[in-house]
Structure formats: structure tokens, C-alpha cells
């Protein structure tokens, strides 16, 4: 799924446009706990979309470390200027949607985005 399609499906606003727009997103992952994100997406994967309500720069750092090309902020949350600045520097596309996380995930899942592979043994 291309980034443009994601924008159309969840009616998103582009907050930071520098980045890789040709990337073909295959999986989605939603979490507000960044450590959980690090735990689940810690293997080499196809490109993942991160759906989150976290708006501080940590989310961009997490995305960079995990090679996540696009971050989608849910619930129409206002976002800190420092986050956008960092995303610009690190080439990570930032999107924002007005929908809550549950609805965002539902819409994207219906459109064919799969959940990030969940292969964990605690």
C-alpha cells in the first residue's frame, strides 16, 4: 500500500513530507508504548506503518531505529514542533488522522493492510 493510499483511506493530513513516498507499506502496527513497538518489530521486516498517539520526538527516534518509514498520529492530536523538525532531519513521513486508533486500524485493515507479524515468546 502506497503512502498516498493510506492518506486517502484515513483522511490524513501530512505534517512532514520529507521521506520515501515510493515505499510499499505491507504491515501496520499500533501502540502507544514505544518499548512494545521495539519488542514486536525487532526483526527485519517489510516496511511497517506505525499508528500511535505518542507525539514527542521519541516516536521519530523509535521509527528511525526500526526503519519505519511512515508514522501515523491518531486522534487528531496536536504535535510538538520538535517532533516535526526531527522527522524532517531523519526523513520520516509524519501523518495525522482525526480518527481514533481503533477506527484507523479498522479502516486500514479493511483496505488490505496486514498486522505486523507477531512471533513472540515471552
Amino acid at each position: 500500500m502506497k503512502v498516498v493510499e493510506i492518506i486517502k483511506i484515513v483522511d490524513a493530513v501530512v505534517l512532514q513530507e520529507e521521506g520515501n513516498w515510493d515505499v510499499n507499506i505491507k504491515y501496520g502496527f499500533a501502540a502507544d508504548l514505544l518499548s512494545d513497538t521495539l519488542f514486536v518489530i525487532s526483526r527485519e521486516e517489510e516496511p511497517v506503518l506505525l499508528i500511535t498517539g505518542v507525539t514527542n520526538p521519541s516516536v521519530v527516534k523509535t521509527a528511525k531505529i526500526l526503519d519505519i518509514p511512515v508514522v501515523l498520529i491518531a486522534r487528531g492530536k496536536p504535535i510538538e514542533a520538535s517532533t516535526i523538525e526531527l522527522a524532517k532531519k531523519e526523513n520520516i513521513i509524519l501523518l495525522r488522522t482525526k480518527y481514533i486508533v481503533f477506527v484507523t486500524c479498522g479502516l486500514l485493515y479493511e483496505a488490505g493492510l496486514k498486522g505486523a507479524p507477531w512471533k513472540i515468546q515471552y
Partner: protein, 275 residues
């Protein structure tokens, strides 16, 4: 003996949530640059994987120091064979190590949780990802954490084989002129595919390539992927031009009567992990 290539050290301050992750990003950048130098001869996809692994572990370790400790540092040493990282801090220490390694157990503050940390996955995550994990802590004094990510661990973990032996075992007919050095190259896996674009995007670097194709473009792809040997199946005969270009890039082209399926099966048995 192991050669040290790069040593990086950053101080981390407790409660400094604004700069959490900066040190990790800097280390990540430096590691990528260092691994890109031709001396190391690293393959692209593998080096990305180990930098990714180290990055995740370092980020978790850095978060731990910021959330819990007063002051600490993270240090990363890049050796030829592995990346070793140390996170050491002066802080409260860990009261119960077994409990701290339990997923979901966390003593992080409300502030840390607000920022998306403190899920209680950190140490467990490092333990899971790293190839070597060592943690000691004195309650009330501080914590010392060491983890390693090994560079050769991202392969199948099977048998490594010299091309010389591979040619012998599979009874291949070598079509190109070769030097002794070409025969001494080591392969540890293979990729069977006839679509050039798939090989370009999916195959590991320095792999063995099994294909029925024998046109000149095959050599071009093999050069880009640094493939040392191409096995042409079903007795197809490459053109003179193809062979010449392969020799120029010191790529061996070998031929077999068998089909791709059969030769893949034989090679799989040769290279798979022996118990």
C-alpha cells in the same frame, strides 16, 4: 586477535527525556558509516540487520538509564566480528533481577509512561535480540549491562563451504577460467531464481545463484550482488560474451545437467546445519 574498529561513548543523564535516543541515533549513524567502508567487506543487508539489532538494544538501554538512574554512559565498540555495547549507570540498581527480566514488570515513573516508555519490556527485549547478554546490579548503587550483537550470526548458521569443494560435490562443469583465489571464496547459502529483478531485490549478497538463464544480464546482476558463483542448470550454454564478462568480474559460471530443483536440493543438503 580481534581488531577494534570504532569506539563510541556517550554520557546519559537521568530524567533527561528531551535527549533520550540522541546517543543511540549518533551511534547508529557512525556504525553504518564504519560498516560501509570497503575494508570491512560487509554485505549490505547483513550490516543493516546488525545495526538495527544494536540500535534497538541501545535505545532500550539508554531509556533505562534516563528513566531510572542519575547518571550513566553507553559505550559501543565495533570489532571485526561483533558489536559490543556497555550501559553502566549510577542509580537505584535493580532489586530483583529475575523480576526485572519479566515482560511487563516495570518500576518506571508516571512521566516515563506518559512519553511511551516503561512498558516493562526493555531488558527482556535486549535479552531476546542480542547474541550475548550480561547484567549485574547492586541494589542502591547502580547497574552494569553488557550485550553483544555478532556479525556472523545473521546467516543460516549452516555449513560454510569453499567454492572448490562445492564444485566437486555437485559435480559441476566450470565454463569460465578462474584463479585459485576465486575457488577459495566461501559460500554459505544459495538463491534459486530465474527472474533477475527478484535476485536484485531479494537475494543475499555473496550468495550462490542457481538459474536456468545464461544471458549476459545474469553477470551484471551477479556483479551488483557480489555473487561469486552462478550455477546454470539444464545444460544451458552461455554465450562467449557472457563468459568473458564473468571472467572480467571474477565470477565463476558452472554448468550442470540437473534441473534447478534437483541441484537446489543437493546444495541444500550440503549447506544445511549438521546435527
Amino acid at each position: 586477535m580481534e581488531d577494534t574498529i570504532l569506539v563510541l561513548e556517550f554520557p546519559i543523564f537521568g530524567e533527561d527525556f528531551d535527549h533520550l535516543g540522541d546517543a543511540t541515533l549518533r551511534i547508529r549513524e557512525s556504525l553504518l558509516k564504519a560498516l560501509n567502508t570497503p575494508i570491512l567487506n560487509a554485505s549490505k543487508s547483513r550490516e543493516k540487520e546488525i545495526v538495527r539489532k544494536s540500535g534497538i538494544c541501545l535505545y532500550e538501554a539508554e531509556a533505562n538509564i534516563v528513566i531510572h538512574a542519575k547518571f550513566g554512559f553507553i559505550k559501543t565498540i565495533l570489532y571485526k566480528q561483533k558489536i559490543v555495547s556497555i550501559a553502566k549507570d549510577i542509580g537505584p540498581g535493580i532489586k530483583n533481577l529475575i523480576l526485572a527480566l519479566k515482560p511487563g514488570y516495570s518500576t518506571a515513573s508516571e512521566k516515563a509512561r506518559m512519553l511511551g516508555f516503561g512498558a516493562g519490556m526493555g531488558l527482556k527485549n535486549i535479552e531476546k535480540i542480542s547474541d550475548f547478554f550480561f547484567l549485574i546490579s547492586t541494589f542502591g548503587k547502580g547497574t552494569y549491562l553488557l550485550f553483544e550483537v555478532w556479525r556472523n550470526n545473521t546467516t543460516l548458521g549452516g555449513v560454510k563451504m569453499k567454492i572448490r569443494k562445492l564444485i566437486e560435490e555437485l559435480k559441476l562443469e566450470v565454463l569460465t577460467n578462474f584463479t585459485e583465489k576465486d575457488l577459495d571464496k566461501i559460500v554459505e547459502e544459495a538463491y534459486t531464481c530465474d527472474l533477475l529483478s527478484n535476485v536484485l531485490s531479494k537475494a543475499e549478497e555473496e550468495t550462490t545463484w542457481i538459474t536456468v538463464q545464461s544471458n549476459i544480464n545474469v553477470v551484471g546482476v551477479a556483479t551488483i550482488k557480489r555473487i561469486p558463483i552462478i550455477i546454470v542448470t539444464e545444460s544451458n550454454t552461455p554465450e562467449e560474451e557472457t563468459l568473458k564478462k564473468a571472467e572480467l568480474n571474477s565470477i565463476i559460471i558452472a554448468r550442470t545437467k540437473l534441473s534447478s530443483f534437483e541441484i537446489s536440493g543437493q546444495l541444500y543438503n550440503l549447506l544445511k546445519k549438521q546435527n
